[in-house]
């Protein structure tokens, strides 16, 4: 079930909300928790019942291990932590990376090994990381295993289950103690609806519209067709916008849905395309994953403390593994490696020329273009496709195809229908991401006070009308599209 599907919007959510609001009348937090757990398991099992069995196995295993970690002496707890990490990584390794490992080992050894295709359970990367972090914190003594229903809800809470934000126990478990509260209920509900529709708008109006400029070019390149320079650049930029609006739209919807139940999720994006350097970009893009990698990989590797070359090596390792986390493919590794190289370059620049930095707008443009170039292997399914697009971007495949003139180019818009429209949309979206406030700047969330800004949300008729019309446009797009478009991050 997708957030942007009619069955979710018109059946699932109304039913769950009605049940939840009736439960609130009883002032029994436990009933609220049970309702959300059942809803989350139904939500997850709706895709594939087999997934649900594995998911329950993962949660039960982790819960039992956390009990062991918490209940034994420190020396034995470490052993249980190791068991937990091996358990989680085995599940992830088998379901997500087994084929990749076998195929590449066979290739390296010149063998013809292969294994049967394995169904990749949805969200396995997300719930695995979330539970590893929980076990680590159990080992540190920072959290005690909660009652089973609350643990199940912590891992399976449906708004953030499939594609994050990745949450820590300290962000969620305390909130489950207070579900039946009355304070701010109307306010969180209104904000929840507004966040949800803002996210839906980003997804169905902005992100899905970009697919028309992305898919034909990448699919054509994959089929071995020639791609021209202009269409390669348009496709790369369009994908950059598609994935941003898709994923940040999903995150806004997740935050909004959680708010409908009075629960606050951490923010995941902070206008990443406004970043003035690549280090800044990674502080703004998929922030909960960045925090996870920092806390559970970069710092244990030595982080900044080791300094010099070792620090740069750590950065590269983290980015390569971060790339691999996104999927079992060399394209993701290449994407991670490119960002690793960008970060290393950024750190070297800072080290070698302290105090000498590009003006923010130049740094912003350079970062933006570098990020767009790196999206190509992330989207392409093979190296050949990546190469075709990159070569075309470099002008090595020709500037025109000998067709009709278009703004002085002998260019025919093979893939894009109308390149003028594509360019206009890309310019509008660039203005959108560079000039407009992001959702959390606009709406009051997580302690931010936005009242002083002219564009800040207030409970006025004007904002009610503006948000309602945006919501209707999003609904029209959602219902109008013949097929519900999956979120790009679901494959991770």
């Amino acid at each position: 079930m997708l957030f942007n599907s009619p069955e979710f919007a018109f059946f699932f959510i109304p039913i769950v909300l009605t049940a939840y609001w009736f439960a609130l009348k009883t002032k029994q937090t436990n009933i609220c928790v049970y309702i959300l757990v059942v809803a989350s398991l139904v939500f997850y099992g709706y895709w594939h019942l087999e997934y649900l069995v594995l998911f329950l196995l993962s949660m039960s295993g982790n819960y039992l291990i956390s009990k062991q970690i918490f209940g034994v002496r420190a020396s034995r707890a470490k052993g249980w932590l190791l068991v937990g990490i091996v358990f989680n990584m085995s599940l992830l390794g088998y379901f997500k990376y087994a084929i990749f490992l076998v195929e590449n080992t066979a290739l390296a050894l010149g063998k013809s090994w292969s294994i049967e295709p394995i169904l990749l359970p949805l969200a396995i990367s997300f719930f695995t990381f979330q539970q590893i972090a929980y076990l680590v914190d159990c080992h540190k003594g920072e959290v005690a295993p909660p009652p089973i229903p609350k643990y199940l809800l912590f891992v399976s809470f449906f708004p953030q289950l499939i594609a994050g934000p990745i949450v820590h126990h300290y962000q969620m478990l305390p909130q489950f103690e207070d579900l039946a509260r009355k304070r701010d209920r109307l306010f969180t509900f209104v904000m929840g609806a507004t966040f949800f529709f803002a996210g839906l708008f980003k997804k169905v109006v902005l992100a899905d519209s970009m697919a028309a400029f992305v898919d034909p070019v990448f699919d054509g390149a994959a089929a071995g067709a020639t791609v021209l320079m202009l269409e390669a650049w348009i496709a790369a930029f369009a994908f950059g916008f598609q994935i941003y609006f898709d994923f940040s739209g999903y995150s806004d919807m997740a935050i909004g849905l959680a708010l409908l139940f009075g629960i606050y999720l951490p923010l995941n994006f902070n206008s990443p395309y406004k970043a003035t350097c690549i280090i800044d970009f990674w502080r703004r893009w998929h922030m909960t994953l960045s925090h996870f990698l920092r806390d559970h990989l970069y710092i244990p590797l030595g982080g900044n403390r080791v300094g010099g070359e070792r620090k740069l090596l750590n950065v590269m390792v983290v980015m390569l593994l971060g790339g691999l986390w996104h999927g079992a493919g060399w394209g993701f590794v290449l994407w991670g490696g490119l960002h690793g190289a960008y970060l290393v370059g950024n750190h070297l620049w800072r080290g070698l020329a302290p105090g000498w930095s590009l003006p923010p707008y130049l740094g912003g443009i350079a970062t933006f273009i570098a990020v767009m170039i790196a999206w190509v292997p992330f989207r392409a399914e093979t190296w050949q496709t990546t190469q075709t697009i990159w070569w075309a971007m470099a002008g090595l495949s020709g500037l025109d195809d000998g067709g009709a003139s278009w703004f002085g180019f002998a260019y025919n818009p093979l893939w894009l229908g109308n390149p003028g429209l594509a360019l206009l949309l890309l310019i509008l979206l660039s203005a959108f991401v560079w000039l407009l406030p992001n959702t959390q700047d606009w709406l009051p969330y997580a302690g931010k006070k936005t009242k002083s800004q002219p564009w800040a949300w207030r409970p006025t008729t004007y904002w009610a009308a503006f948000n309602a019309i945006s919501a209707v446009i999003a609904l029209v797009f959602m219902l109008g599209r013949p097929e519900t478009q999956e979120f790009l991050y679901f494959q991770f």
Partner: protein, 434 residues
């Protein structure tokens, strides 16, 4: 302030929401609290507008889509369509009707041609300009030989042409290819049709300016040809039937058809890879299917009409991919043998090299372009000077047209109708410079 009806003054506490608020007291909000009242007013206004606008948007869009289809000519009767084609040289390209049988029957009966081409979409590139007498292309007038028989029975009630060129498709003889059933032309403006039109908007096949231009202004021309157009496919992509019944692929030639998906023959090759649609695998051809074509040929001959059977070519890329699958397409040799043994005029041009054509002259993996069909006509009269077609063809002008159009899908005469030049729309490295 009119636009701030809900806002009753500054808040006494921060409007921001945060889990850090958890420690605050948990009581019912006082109904006199201005902040609560403003929020309640906001929520009421917000959800009321969502419901009202959703209803309005739903009804308004349905009305607009209905008008769009109607003014595009999608609900014109076929005699109106044919009359408008004859009067204005209009292109007919419906996006909602699969009406090849009814439409081509209407067209052929009205035009009373000496020659017709009958078959699937793989005969649609024969053009009036290739023949010296009245010609109508009845391509897609039949999907199967059995339907071809129905077509000829119906046509001969009104008119008997002198020659019928039948383009025989290989899949007709594949026992694993199920004969599709003909659907009657749908002329009702129902909800499903409106939803279909709506889906085009979301798929990017039409735009809001298209809706406005057609539904409100009634402008059905496009910048590709400036022709009169009937039907959405013709208006939007220049894709449809010309007055002679032949197919105009419109924007595809210049590379501007975003719905085209056979670049580098990817779509056709994918069908071969899995053996689907027209490319289902079969080791042997079906004798019963051969018999059905025999019945059609017998009927045509008995009506005093000369049939000429042609096996149209496939692109070299596609033939190689099929050959690489070995016995999966074993039934092709049965077809070649059958064609060779036919008592009527029959020509096997499955291999494009037999016509001197290359892949750059195709419009996709298994449809040749106009120049290829000019080559077919020229080859027939060159190979068989006694062919029934010979009196209706000027080989000299045809060969000149072939030389001028060599390497292109469009003939030079047709290319003159377009404001955009043909490009390497297949993306296989064809040089399309004039």
């Amino acid at each position: 302030m009119r636009w701030s009806l809900c806002w009753a003054g500054p808040r006494r506490r921060s409007s921001s929401i945060s889990s850090s608020n958890a420690a605050k007291e948990d009581t019912d909000p006082p109904t006199s609290n201005p902040e609560f009242l403003a929020l309640r007013c906001y929520a009421t206004t917000y959800f009321s507008i969502v419901v009202a606008f959703a209803l309005l948007a739903g009804l308004g869009l349905q009305l607009l889509f209905g008008l769009f289809l109607w003014r595009a000519g999608e609900f014109s009767s076929l005699d109106e369509v044919v009359a408008r084609q004859f009067d204005n040289a209009a292109i007919y390209g419906s996006a909602i009707h699969e009406d090849g049988f009814e439409y081509k029957l209407e067209l052929a009966a009205a035009a009373k041609p000496a020659i017709i081409a009958l078959g699937s979409s793989r005969v649609l590139q024969f053009r009036q300009s290739d023949f010296s007498e009245k010609f109508i292309n009845a391509g897609r007038g039949m999907i199967t030989p059995a339907e071809g028989l129905d077509f000829m029975r119906a046509l001969t009630v009104h008119h008997k042409p002198k020659i019928v060129i039948i383009g025989a498709d290989f899949w007709w003889f594949n026992p694993n290819w199920p004969y599709p059933r003909r659907q009657p032309r749908n002329t009702s403006l129902d909800l499903a049709t409106l939803n279909l039109a709506e889906s085009w908007l979301w798929q990017g096949k039409i735009s809001l300016p298209d809706l406005w231009r057609v539904a409100v202004l009634g402008d059905v021309r496009n910048q590709l040809t400036w022709h009169d157009n009937i039907g959405i496919a013709a208006i939007k992509r220049g894709n449809g039937y010309r007055p002679d019944g032949s197919r105009d692929y419109g924007l595809r030639y210049s590379g501007g058809d975003a719905t085209f998906d056979d670049q580098a023959f990817a779509n056709t090759l994918a069908r071969i890879e899995v053996g689907e649609a027209q490319f289902k695998y079969a080791g042997r051809a079906s004798a019963e299917r051969f018999r059905q074509l025999d019945l059609l040929l017998e009927f045509i001959t008995s009506a005093g009409i000369t049939p000429i059977v042609v096996l149209p070519p496939l692109s070299r890329h596609v033939l190689d991919a099929m050959a690489a699958r070995g016995p999966d397409y074993g039934y092709f040799s049965d077809i070649a043998k059958y064609a060779d043994e036919l008592k009527t005029e029959a020509y096997d041009f499955t291999e494009p090299e037999s016509l001197g054509a290359g892949d750059c002259e195709f419009v996709d993996g298994f449809h040749g372009g106009e120049v290829i069909y000019q080559r077919i006509t020229a080859n027939i009269v060159a190979m068989n000077p006694n062919s029934a077609l010979a009196p209706y063809v000027d080989p000299e002008s045809l060969n000149r047209a072939i030389q001028q159009g060599k390497g292109h899908a469009l003939s030079q005469a047709s290319a003159g109708n377009y404001t955009l030049a043909e490009s390497d729309f297949l993306r296989i490295g064809c040089h399309k410079g004039s």
